[in-house]
């Protein structure tokens, strides 16, 4: 441990984390170290989410990790259940717009009326 400058290779911008936190109007003042430790917790969280999702990807012999795999992972573990609503939106958008998430304000809305809809017959998930 002595002599090591930075142990973590990825770190998320503390300033951005603080702004995200303060979008919640209930949140007031935040100590300086807080966004930094949340960055670390977030790293660990993502590592866990990605690794577990990848197991599903491999189990399905798929070449590419998809939203569907993530959704399955999120539903399978209690610790990820707070993300369930997010995946509901993501899946319903994914079936409508197969170009991928380029414009995320559209991604965020519940009622998507994307004109460039690819007619998805068989691929549609009935929710």
């Amino acid at each position: 441990m002595p002599g090591q400058k930075k142990q973590y290779s990825v770190r998320f911008p503390p300033g951005r984390i603080k702004k995200i936190m303060q979008k919640d109007t209930e949140v007031g003042r935040i100590a300086m170290a807080v966004p930094v430790i949340i960055s670390r917790a977030l790293e660990m969280f993502l590592k866990s989410l990605l690794t577990k999702t990848c197991l599903i990807t491999q189990a399905k012999f798929s070449n590419i990790l998809s939203v569907a795999h993530m959704k399955q992972c999120i539903e399978s573990e209690k610790i990820f259940h707070f993300l369930k609503d997010l995946t509901e939106e993501a899946t319903s958008t994914a079936t409508q717009d197969n170009r991928g998430m380029s414009m995320w304000p559209i991604y965020r809305t519940k009622n998507n009326n994307i004109s460039a809809q690819t007619p998805s017959g068989a691929g549609e998930i009935a929710l």
């Binding site: 949140v27 807080v34 670390r40 990790l65 998809s66």
Partner: protein
């Protein structure tokens, strides 16, 4: 940094950082673009989850500022207790850095010697040594 494009609702962790994270965690796995976008939004949700809980814990205590301790307790109560050891390591690093910074600035303050005076003292020393060498 003032945001010129978009409003406050576009607050997310930068995509590049997420891509880097994905690359490091799953080096040989292809990840769909919309899956990456979902990961970005999962980050925001996670931050809100922890913040909310930490804020509640903070409100129950006598403090007005959310402290690292509140965050650690939030992680515990939300089921992320396994993260706490590493989080505490990071916290220690923060404290060490902050301490170093405080020491460094107080050292400078205590010098209190203005630059011209330091220059004068330097000249004196040079003069002294040139005298002694001859």
């Amino acid at each position: 940094m003032a945001s010129s494009s978009g409003n406050d609702d576009d607050l997310t962790i930068p995509r590049a950082a997420i891509n880097k994270m994905i690359k490091e965690t799953l080096p040989n796995v292809r990840v769909a673009n919309d899956a990456r976008e979902l990961v970005v939004n999962c980050c925001t949700e996670f931050i809100h989850l922890i913040s909310s809980e930490a804020n509640e814990i903070c409100n129950k205590s006598d403090k007005k500022t959310i402290s690292p301790e509140h965050v650690i307790n939030a992680l515990e109560s939300l089921g992320f207790a396994s993260y706490i050891t590493e989080v505490k390591d990071v916290l220690q690093e923060c404290k060490t850095v902050a301490l170093k910074r405080r020491k460094a600035s107080s050292r400078l303050e205590n010098l209190g010697i203005p630059e011209e005076e330091l220059l004068r003292q330097q000249q004196e020393l040079f003069a002294k040594y040139s005298c002694s060498s001859s």
